[in-house]
């Protein structure tokens, strides 16, 4: 039986996301997204993903929310025009089905990992530094590339 905590947190996550999607104001959308980021970070933290929970909250509830608010301040409150709801539902359903089918066909033939060959549990704060050094380097390169891209885009705007 699923824990009540998991159900409660998932319900809170879905409610905040639905409120963010169907809100008429972009500011309310950003605030709801902020709450959704915190709820997701709490889910990660409770289920033994303390590092990724903290990184998630820092990135999405911190940096990305501030960036979104800054862009809203720069561009002003835009009118949120609404497209065709039925068309969007059909397209989203078809896309989700294609993604689900391709994911299933990708992983259906994968061998199941035996519990005996799993690496032993390690302390929480050492997982990525002990096992995945290259991943950390790649992450730093991706982050640096995106920051250089943003600086280039905005400096080009300043020159013009």
């Amino acid at each position: 039986m699923a824990g009540e905590v998991a159900l409660l947190l998932c319900a809170a996550l879905l409610v905040t996301v639905i409120a963010a999607i169907f809100s008429k104001s972009i500011s309310v959308t950003i605030i709801m997204l902020f709450y959704a980021s915190i709820v997701l970070g709490i889910i990660f933290t409770i289920y033994q993903g303390i590092v990724i929970g903290l990184v998630h909250i820092t990135t999405f509830a911190g940096a990305v929310s501030v960036m979104l608010m800054t862009v809203v301040l720069m561009t002003g409150e835009q009118k949120l025009d609404i497209g065709n709801r039925t068309f969007a539902a059909i397209i989203a359903t078809v896309t989700a089905l294609i993604v689900a089918a391709s994911t299933y066909s990708l992983f259906s033939g994968a061998p199941t990992v035996s519990q005996t060959i799993s690496p032993p549990p390690v302390s929480i704060l050492s997982f990525i530094w002990m096992f995945r050094q290259w991943d950390l380097l790649i992450l730093i390169v991706i982050f640096a590339a995106s920051m250089i891209g943003v600086v280039n885009l905005l400096s080009k705007e300043a020159k013009e």
Partner: protein
């Protein structure tokens, strides 16, 4: 039997669907970036749920960390592009931008 892993996987799938729906439903570039963020949330939750119930969930945690950094980076670049588009066209409606371009 309903487990925590199943609840998180289903919630992740619903979030991905909601993000896709919102992406096609809205006519605002800011809302498109926000929809992308919701899709990233769903993907993160689904990846995280895949590591639950195992002795070690290092691979799932690493993939989620990867997804967080890539998602945040893409959103930063997208928001910078939105600022440029707004300066150039004065609107964030993609249909209006397409009309002004021609």
């Amino acid at each position: 039997m309903i487990t925590d892993q199943l609840v998180f996987a289903v919630t992740g799938a619903i979030l991905v669907f909601l993000g896709l729906f919102s992406m096609f439903y809205s006519r605002n570039l800011m809302k498109t970036i926000i929809s992308f963020q919701i899709i990233v949330f769903g993907a993160n939750l689904a990846l995280f749920s895949s590591g639950l119930g195992q002795t070690s969930n290092l691979m799932a945690n690493t993939l989620v960390l990867f997804s967080i950094v890539v998602g945040g980076s893409v959103e930063a670049v997208g928001l910078a592009l939105i600022v440029l588009v707004h300066k150039a066209y004065g609107t964030l409606d993609p249909w209006e931008i397409r009309r002004l371009k021609h």
